[in-house]
């Protein structure tokens, strides 16, 4: 069954499964002082060190969390609160409009409940934030002294566009403003180094790189202490309380080590497969619109995102699903109604095109046969979805 939705979640690596299962049978709270606790703590700390190595960070900078959404919330809310507490004038949050909802909704919440002034940075038609635009935003409004933080994702989860993270960091740091980036999609696909990026906070998660669900990390500069979301036992620098997930940490670390080790080869292989997929879709559906940066250097190697004019994303998804091909429309409301992509809308697409999109994302188990299956199906599926679109438009 062709699985083309690795950006949603990707199969666990055998090494990660071994690492998790190896520790499932052991007792031990990593905060306990006795021998069982010490054994658990050793596993957690070795995992933290492995993660730090893979992420270009120091072990003390790795804060383990329950996943990407929690890391994003901790970074955005925690840093906002801490920065505002230090200087009440800092209420501006500068954010890209193409963020994942874990950042977007957190930022909106700060605006609605915590007096934050949320400002969305302009993006180009690929959804990219340019450093000059960030500079103008910082200088604008009430000025640099009132900016609490900047948050711009490393790579977009829908259209795959890479952001110039290091340049954006340089720009913000010139004003002493901290920067957070959600690197959930980037890790394992492009080189990701916390130290080289200059970031102050960076979100990563296990299940997108072949690790387990329910564990992630906020890589966090020692210069910042965000106000915690979870108060309790004081684990993780007192920033994230909660009993540590020993098997999860071990599995996450194993996956991160392999994802980073294999990144260059994986990127090359998936990019070749992705290019074949894009060519096949274009051959079958000549008017399909490739969204995101057409330059391979500017997008994730595993991502292909199209709009199919005249189609509804949900119809395409259903017809492909019926043929055993699994992909995604991007986002749906809580009841499951597909929504026009906020990423495409921010990048200037017409609402009809933003509803007509599908994301194909490749991963470590993808094969040429997956692409061939899609190549065979996509033409008839689009034709049928177009007819359905016409039927829906008729009264």
């Amino acid at each position: 069954m062709p699985y083309l939705d690795h950006a949603a979640t990707t199969p666990m690596l055998p090494e990660a499964i071994s690492a998790v299962t190896a520790h499932l049978g052991s007792t031990g709270n990593a905060s306990s002082l006795h021998a069982a606790g010490r054994r658990a703590r050793r596993v957690v700390e070795e995992s933290r060190e492995a993660l730090a190595r893979a992420l270009g960070a120091r072990p003390s900078e790795v804060v383990l969390t329950g996943g990407g959404t929690e890391s994003d919330n901790l970074a955005v809310k925690g840093l906002y609160w801490a920065r505002r507490d230090a200087d009440p004038a800092r209420t501006r949050v500068l954010c890209s409009p193409v963020e994942h909802h874990a950042v977007l909704d957190a930022v909106h919440w700060l605006g609605d409940h915590e007096g934050a002034q949320v400002e969305f940075l302009p993006v180009d038609r690929y959804g990219r934030v340019h450093p000059e635009a960030l500079r103008a935003a910082i200088e604008g409004g009430t000025g640099p002294g009132t900016v609490a933080l900047v948050t711009v994702m490393w790579a977009n989860n829908e259209v795959g566009t890479l952001q110039p993270v290091a340049e954006l960091v340089e720009t913000a740091h010139a004003y002493g403003i901290p920067v957070h980036s959600d690197a959930v999609q980037a890790l394992g696909q492009v080189p990701v180094s916390f130290a080289d990026s200059g970031l102050d906070a960076m979100t990563v998660t296990g299940h997108k790189i072949g690790g387990p669900y329910g564990i992630g990390a906020l890589v966090l500069s020692r210069a910042f202490t965000p106000v915690p979301l979870l108060h309790g036992g004081g684990q993780e620098r007192d920033v994230r309380s909660g009993t540590l997930d020993v098997p999860g940490a071990a599995g996450f670390a194993a996956a991160a080590r392999i994802a980073v080790e294999r990144q260059a080869v994986h990127a090359k292989e998936t990019a070749a497969l992705r290019d074949a997929l894009v060519a096949a879709v274009r051959a079958a559906v000549p008017d399909a619109v490739l969204n995101g940066d057409p330059d391979p250097a500017g997008r994730l190697p595993a991502n292909a995102h199209f709009s199919f004019p005249g189609c509804e994303g949900d119809a395409l998804l259903m017809l492909l699903d019926a043929r055993g091909i699994e992909c995604s429309t991007g986002s749906a409301c809580s009841a499951g109604v597909p929504q026009p992509s906020h990423v495409l809308l921010a990048a200037g697409a017409e609402p009809d095109l933003a509803r007509a999109s599908l994301r194909f994302s490749l991963g470590h188990t993808s094969t040429a046969a997956d692409v061939e299956a899609l190549a065979e199906a996509i033409g008839p599926v689009v034709e049928r979805a177009r007819n359905a679109g016409l039927a829906s438009a008729r009264r």
């Binding site: 609605d112 809580s334 039927a391």
Partner: protein
């Protein structure tokens, strides 16, 4: 083969466009779109269709839209819980499941129409309208375009093959029968409809849901209008139509009370009139007429409600339209009884004469004609003729 009684009436052995291996029961294997509301009936209907060998896909229709605080362009569905129940049932049955957004069509074709009908002094039936415009039009059209052969619902009614094509019949469970709200379907729509529950009493459906491990087995039936969640139709209308105080008058034109909007009244209504003075004869008074033009509600004695004839517009036939006058029984409102009638199509209007006078017949409701258990057709009641001269 099914362990359960009746794997479905009318899985279309004669359906065009159906291919694939023959399913159990002699029908052919169809690609079926099962509309799943999140209730027990549609869940069992989908399960029966799947068990009958059809290739079933579940769909929940998101019909209500609320603006949501966060996501630009996003909507929160007030049917969130129902959509989860439907998804859960589909997962247990083992069929694909999707949510389709038909909120805009539903608002235009059902909700706006509902409000406009009340504003015009009529009493609409939104379920009938939804079957005609949404489930067996917008949904069916989209389903056919996507390659499905039929739409399956949990309605209690039967589709059977008759000499002149497909026929719609009352369900065996008379108390649950929903053929009245399906009376608007024409032969083409019937040919694409699957009602797997028509041959089973409701109580057995709940038992069957339990046996099938469907979590909705004990979910209460929905009684209210689905888009008026709190059941307060008057409040819903007042919000949209505002208040418009006017007079309540007797049959001779004497003012006997006041109202806050003529749309709040239905012909035959007795309660909630809040008339201060009792009638001269001391008998209860009923709404005889609602006239939005002069914003006037006329009340009078029960006898004045007796209708002997009515005219129906927008006739729809479940098969060929009958030629000349015919003897039928008619159902004149949801859950109403049957009355013997003579009906004839004259200049595109349905003229119906009742053998015995009947009460509580409100313009806007449907008249559905039956021949035995078979639905012949329907029309929307436009005007009624009263026995007495009391009609205002």
């Amino acid at each position: 083969m099914s362990d359960f009684p009746g794997t479905g009436s009318g899985p279309g052995a004669a359906l065009p466009g159906a291919d694939g291996p023959a399913g159990p029961g002699g029908g052919r294997r169809l690609r079926v779109l099962a509309a799943m509301s999140g209730g027990v009936d549609s869940a069992v209907a989908a399960a029966r269709a799947a068990e009958a060998g059809h290739d079933v896909t579940g769909v929940h229709l998101a019909l209500s839209a609320n603006p949501q605080s966060f996501r630009t362009g996003a909507r929160g569905c007030c049917t969130l819980e129902d959509s989860r129940d439907a998804r859960r049932a589909a997962d247990v049955i083992g069929i694909p499941f999707y949510v389709w957004d038909m909120a805009e069509r539903f608002r235009e074709d059902v909700v706006d129409d509902f409000v406009a009908e009340y504003a015009a002094g009529r009493t609409p039936n939104p379920c009938l309208r939804c079957n005609e415009k949404i489930k067996f039009a917008a949904l069916l059209d989209k389903a056919l375009a996507l390659g499905f052969d039929a739409v399956c619902t949990g309605h209690y009614a039967r589709v059977v093959d008759g000499p002149a094509g497909r026929e719609l019949h009352r369900a065996v469970d008379a108390a649950k029968d929903q053929s009245y709200v399906l009376g608007v379907l024409d032969a083409d729509q019937l040919a694409r409809a699957l009602f797997p529950l028509g041959d089973t009493p409701k109580e057995l459906i709940r038992e069957e849901a339990e046996r099938r491990d469907l979590a909705v087995a004990r979910k209460p039936d929905s009684h209210d209008i689905c888009f008026i969640a709190d059941g307060d139709t008057q409040g819903f209308l007042a919000q949209r139509l505002g208040t418009s105080p006017g007079d309540i008058v007797d049959t001779d034109g004497t003012k006997v009370g006041e109202h806050q909007g003529a749309y709040g009244f239905t012909v035959g209504q007795r309660k909630g009139l809040r008339i201060g003075r009792p009638a001269a004869d001391g008998k209860p008074r009923y709404v005889l007429d609602v006239s939005p033009v002069d914003n006037r509600v006329t009340v009078g004695p029960a006898e004045a409600l007796d209708v002997v004839a009515l005219t129906g517009i927008r006739p729809r036939w479940c098969g060929p339209a009958p030629a000349g006058p015919g003897e039928y029984t008619a159902q004149l409102r949801a859950h109403g009884g049957e009355v013997p009638v003579t009906a004839e199509l004259v200049d595109g209007e349905l003229r119906v004469r009742l053998a015995e006078p009947a009460r509580g017949i409100a313009p806007g409701q449907a008249v559905v004609l039956y021949e035995g258990t078979r639905v012949v057709g329907s029309a929307t009641i436009a005007a009624t003729e009263r026995r007495s001269a009391a009609r205002a």
